[in-house]
Symmetry: D2
Subunit: 367 residues, 4 copies
């Protein structure tokens, strides 16, 4: 059931990169929630490649969704919300001559086996990064609903190769800091680090290569007590979404892999009560204990591998003949997807967090 | 639906640390698969604390499961396989006096909120690490079924704090190497590194502290083409299980977070055809592209935070009164859970991989 | 998760009667299955109101679907198949003046409560019978896939009020008989009975009233051994779909409610082996024992209540004011939905049967 | 995933008739709900065969469940509630000699095919009516939770063969009437009809035959607005459970199949507002419109086929050899399961209704 995700709410994604359209269906959303379409367009535009931006793909997508159902008089109806984005700027030609060649690092080979050669191979088909457009659209809707109940989500590039931005403060994460990077052309907190990252990406592009990076995402305002033990914790739920973003190879929460090198006495977050509010002094746990929110900011990191599409000649095989050959990928592609992935990570996080809240009856309309 | 996991097969876990029993139900297993109970006991014993072992908990659990259904004449029936492990060696006393105190780093506080104070708090209740016993049992059954179709799973401690074992070879991972650590008292590949790790753990114990670490797991023999795009890829499926193991804060596949610092030209694995077999020259992808197996070894890493239960005095709050206080956790607990977690990670991986194969009809009995 | 159904395959329906569009997403279909679009159009046309047909609604819908994804070079890709039917012939005016009035027998009142007044009320919104269009489209695709593996589905009107058609033969149900009614303007086996039914429907229409009826559906060619015990049997699976068709109030299999008046010695179907084939002499079970197919024809009956929309003045309440009032429903509606429901029942049965087969790995492409 | 049912709450059943034990796991129950075990035992005892009762099986089962988890200090914990019923009074001998013979009307043949001969065939294995014991236990817990929020459930035998009890009043269904039959040895409203039914059953038993019947079930106190459109309506949800009870061949709601013979003007239930309360004057809909509760009593009917186990000689085949032969079933079995099925239907209805309420956040503890 590859392309449907369920937890409290249900998200179905469909479409292929060069087919008629891509889109999504969101079911079980809270009813009566106002959706601001201008704000939604501004959010999804952050994922879209910018014209003239040398750090990303040359494919220009307007990606205007057509809403088919689920919004009535500006509010969610509670019944399925469906939207389609028709594919317009499709140039299958540049892909066509390499259709039988498995691009290294891509799903061409595995998709071919999985669907016995019947899948749409053009531009990666259903495996294309283009499917993050409806994912981002769905997440943008969830972000608006979450904001109405006081939950804020933001993300930024934490690193490109070995160049690092400063991390979110784990305890005192204000909405201002959370939203800062998203308002910039290049989504970092420290613009000096951002300059270096841009230089690094451009350098990779010029050398017909690509680079990866890490995105850090934060969620504030989530009440304590949201989540479940075992397989339905916040970590399980979010990682099951985040690994659905192409090129993601690692997901961690709080101090993540670094926590494995700490002592318990360093890593445990002491509880404190202050003015009737319970909090933790530190937040190494990233706001999650036993899969359930502590009321502190949720913090997570997502590792992206370098874009597999590079113009350099690479060794590969021909899917049809099974013979060895070489490939040089000349379609439009990003030397680094990480900047565009920032709103995608926010979107995935929003879907998961809203799902958890709905599952626990934590979201209702306020009349 | 916190404690049921579904993908191809269905696993339900139940029980509380100090209740009558813990157990599991596995549904939709392939029918007619022989299960060797002695071998299963040997596998689950790797998770059990060893008497006199200073690196782990002093609680002695025999953990003999009673099989209630699903095995007939030594083989799986295909209908639900249920097993219960009765709790015997229960000393609630040492926990009782701290029942109202939220142990830092534990789910006491979040569980209390989640269930409005109605959950069983003794020994962590349903959040206890003890629930890994039925998880390991379920995984041990899946491992046996997988072996019958040529799939092997193994794991080892990759690091404790900053002490590292050598990693699995990513291309030429033999069954011998895969299974080597599991046959040792302390599951590492390099025994010299293991000695240092044991010293580190004992040192932490003496200082009333704890340490974390990373487990590396490998899967060989999985045919190419298993998995699905989007939300049902191997990464999504396995991470949704692995984050169900208490103390896990990060999961990565292949080069994981390291991949984010590489160039595409380094990270892409070239395809090669040799004697009619297709493989990749390197395996930075950890055997997964687009969520689907490439036929190369699956490689993943799981980060464990240090055990939150430490004897040192820590600041916390009283759940009932909401007041500030201190706690010193004197129950039986491990200064490091990582060694015992090695078979748990293997178990979780086996459940996910078998689920993926069953979902894709890749496991049948051979008459 | 009201509008998604899952068992082996996954069907998501979306849309509102007077919104931008209605549609469906089918996931986990077998890959590489040819789909004949002309044949599909012919099938879905059976559900569509015929111009000038006095027995059904005056709303003319061409209902041409746009396929967005999932079909490539005439075959299923295996990734989500999405289609949208844009709403064109929408006259909200006739409904507008009664928008606040709960039509008796309709979901206006219950939908209003369920979604706190936020649902789209025009023409019944998501509750409209119009949503059977994408259901029928999805089922038509499943029917084509089933035919490729030898499974045939057909249905007919068994009764309108007290006028009955002859029943399908339960043992020797040929494809010819199965498909006979579907090729007629009025889908019955016995045309003389059909004439009486038409007269009955027209009489009801003239008296500003409506009538209900029963549809009988048969499935042949389904191999024995398909289905599961408990909650995933063929009966559970099909009824969970069939009760999703508006106006359905009862579902039975084999002799159904009649079986409750028989002796065991009459109702049991004796097994016989003949030429290496095992069958039953009679088929009171409707081809299902323990939720699993016996290899005999699957037979089921679906009871439809009379169309709730009638022009007569009825007592009701105003949803906004909560006051008593009267209503006379003057929109376009059928005096009897049963004839148009025949392909809808076939569609629902096809989705359930294909789902069961896919869940059990019984459908593969034949190269 | 045959033996798990999910909608708001999750029920997993396991076990085989002659295996070590049968049982159930209920997940996602509301936390903090008191469970009265004596009352629960009294409820499940209604399903158990009574010693000396000639109308039912001679197998004496005490069926005392052991609760393994999920109840702490007399209340639900909110984490999985598991219980096992060990099988004691097992006489496999009487079944053994017929193990290879497919009992007509039973799942022996279909189960054998489904699980390639690996399923436990003793006493029907997982297909046994004995699995209704954990189903009834689970339902008994749900009934107690429902009662705490004002929802009452009751059922009675509506017919045995052609002998009918009077039906529940569809509008003014009091708790007294609802619960009346459940307090009697033979669960009918009209004891005179009950006498005739008992005579009919005994007559069947003497003639080595069996009879079927219909159970009517009612639910009162369910607020209006519970349920969902399409595939998650109350009808879909309940039928997906009810068809999981062995021998059920038909399920209907409200006037059910009778509604198909009525005019719309007869069948529509007019809405009326009275003292600020909205109700319907009649209740042909059985309390459900568009899958959602109207606030009127929910009414449903379940058709049971006659018990397939009869002592008479019947034609059948040998599963191992595939040859024709005869069978005479001499194990312990009921000439009529309908009386014992009454609490099973109540249980299934309770699970479905509680699931719907939990899915819609309608059940919380009252402190």
């Amino acid at each position: 059931m590859s392309s449907t995700w369920t937890h409290g709410i249900k998200l179905t994604l469909f479409g292929e990169s060069h087919g008629n359209g891509i889109g999504m269906v969101l079911d079980h959303l809270p009813a009566g929630m106002p959706i601001n379409l201008d704000k939604l367009t501004a959010f999804t535009a952050r994922r879209t490649a910018k014209k003239g931006d040398t750090t990303s793909t040359a494919r220009t997508e307007t990606d205007q969704p057509e809403f088919l159902s689920g919004i009535y008089q500006g509010k969610t109806t509670g019944t399925p919300l469906a939207a389609v984005i028709h594919n317009h700027d499709v140039k299958s030609e540049s892909y066509r001559d390499i259709a039988a060649l498995a691009r290294p690092g891509h799903a061409d080979y595995t998709g071919y086996l999985r669907y016995q050669g019947a899948n749409d191979p053009r531009g990666g088909g259903h495996f294309s990064g283009r499917l993050t457009a409806p994912l981002t659209l769905a997440g943008g809707i969830c972000i608006q609903i979450l904001e109405q109940v006081g939950v804020q989500i933001g993300a930024h590039i934490l690193s490109i190769r070995d160049i690092t931005d400063r991390a979110f403060p784990s305890v005192s994460l204000s909405t201002e800091i959370l939203k800062a990077a998203g308002q910039k052309d290049f989504p970092v907190l420290d613009d000096a680090a951002g300059e270096k990252m841009i230089a690094c990406i451009n350098d990779a592009r010029l050398r017909e290569d690509s680079v990866g990076g890490v995105v850090e995402c934060g969620v504030t305002g989530l009440p304590a007590g949201i989540g479940s033990p075992m397989f339905d914790g916040i970590e399980n739920t979010l990682s099951s979404l985040l690994f659905g973003i192409p090129a993601v190879k690692g997901v961690s929460f709080g101090d993540g892999f670094d926590a494995s090198a700490h002592y318990g006495s360093e890593n445990n977050d002491p509880f404190i009560a202050e003015n009737g509010q319970i909090a933790t002094k530190t937040n190494h746990a990233g706001g999650i204990l036993g899969g359930i929110s502590t009321g502190m900011p949720i913090l997570l990191r997502v590792a992206f591998k370098p874009t597999p599409s590079i113009s350099r000649t690479q060794e590969t095989i021909n899917l049809k003949t099974g013979e060895n050959t070489t490939i040089s990928v000349h379609g439009r592609h990003d030397p680094c997807v990480v900047a565009r992935a920032v709103p995608v990570v926010e979107a995935a996080a929003a879907i998961g967090i809203l799902g958890q809240m709905v599952a626990q009856c934590g979201v209702h309309i306020t009349k």
